[in-house]
Subunit: 136 residues, 4 copies
């Protein structure tokens, strides 16, 4: 669904300097929030599959990834850079979680929800890694 998020306009209205490009930052935050939603939704869809017993690892990885992406989006939204190590640490943990979830979901990509979720996780992992690189 095409959605107009307020993330970028909100960052544009931030009254002080931000060391990162606001467009790029907004894009990463939107990507994180979308990945969190995809993972929450995928865990629930897996729970509704007849073969749920074979999807336990997928469900747990989904739940971890949803929590971690959501928290990373919040940390980035407070983007103050007062201690850049906290932001970088979360981005690294998040890239790791997204990579794990993408790999897990990719194993059952015959199920559409796992296919979409794997893709969302891979996109999110790349977004995190690119932002880490941009942070210098």
């Amino acid at each position: 669904m095409v959605m107009t998020t307020t993330t970028k306009p909100m960052l544009d209205a931030y009254p002080q300097e931000i060391e990162l490009d606001r467009g790029r930052l907004a894009e990463v935050i939107d990507t994180l929030n979308d990945c969190a939603e995809a993972c929450t939704s995928c865990a629930d869809a897996c729970l509704s599959e007849p073969m749920v017993a074979e999807l336990i690892t997928c469900i747990r990885t989904n739940l971890d990834c949803a929590d971690i992406c959501g928290t990373t989006a919040r940390v980035l939204s407070r983007h103050t850079g007062d201690d850049v190590r906290v932001t970088r640490g979360m981005l690294e943990a998040c890239a790791t979680a997204c990579a794990a979830c993408a790999a897990e979901c990719a194993q059952h990509s015959d199920m559409e929800h796992c296919r979409i979720c794997a893709e969302a996780c891979r996109t999110c992992e790349h977004a995190c890694r690119e932002l880490i690189a941009a942070m210098g």
Copy 2:
């Protein structure tokens, strides 16, 4: 920013029946996630204003609303209707929080971040109330 969320495709891939219309459900979830992000961002922008001491109530209301919208989005994403009272209870709490935050932010709508956030909260309040009505 225009963003293509995976919320609707994920709900379309859900392998069992959902009592609510999937398009409408996806729209409410996207609205909730956007409102959560706007409130997190508005709290942070308020913290960066020179007049922060006058924005304390706004910051607290933003933080409450961000947490409540995020949790409501998750509850809706597990949409099972096993106990519709839980979903309805959260939607009602969320509409109340959004109304409170919209009213608070509207008082400082000369600041662009509060203006945008008030609008996001009002939109989200209406989305919650309409979904409550649709749940019958």
Copy 3:
């Protein structure tokens, strides 16, 4: 496990008035955080049961209850009473979620994790309802 939480000392150090009794407030917050943890843990234990396919509703209710209790604890920790309707709305939604989760877990109380979780949810439901009553 006996744990000395910092919840009460932190509330005692709050530099302004609180309309509710601080000891009672701290107790409810601790109860909410413990219930959130029990529900997160119960969802995970259910996922590890051989009969997981019969525990789907329990897992979802656990996940909802964990999120709702956690958010209610945060809202109470910001206890400002600027808009008491938000706090009351969350307490009501939380009591509903705890009641639903207690009822669901009680159906499988032969499993120790569901027995403990049902008890934690019932305790938490009562704590929420008593605080609502105390709020007048």
Copy 4:
């Protein structure tokens, strides 16, 4: 306040093997949840101080640390070790966030809430680092 948490009994009821010692795991989870609560509460207490304008960095660091500790507790509660890198990544990000918050709060330890919070963060940082070491 002395609180009997259900964390350890819940882990004892977990129906499969856990590679880590359950007593130690429960202790770290309780420490994380207590630190999350202390940080949420400290952010709110800072907001109520007359000198709030000088506490902005402290409030943001508190909010980050609260979110990160809460998410780490959840990830540990799903302790499956299917991908130990996700758990280790979160523990490292969490230790970093706790160290940053402890250092920030320690600068205003004349305020009792910052003094208690700094201590909770330092305790939590050590708990995370010890668990990383124990994970081998």
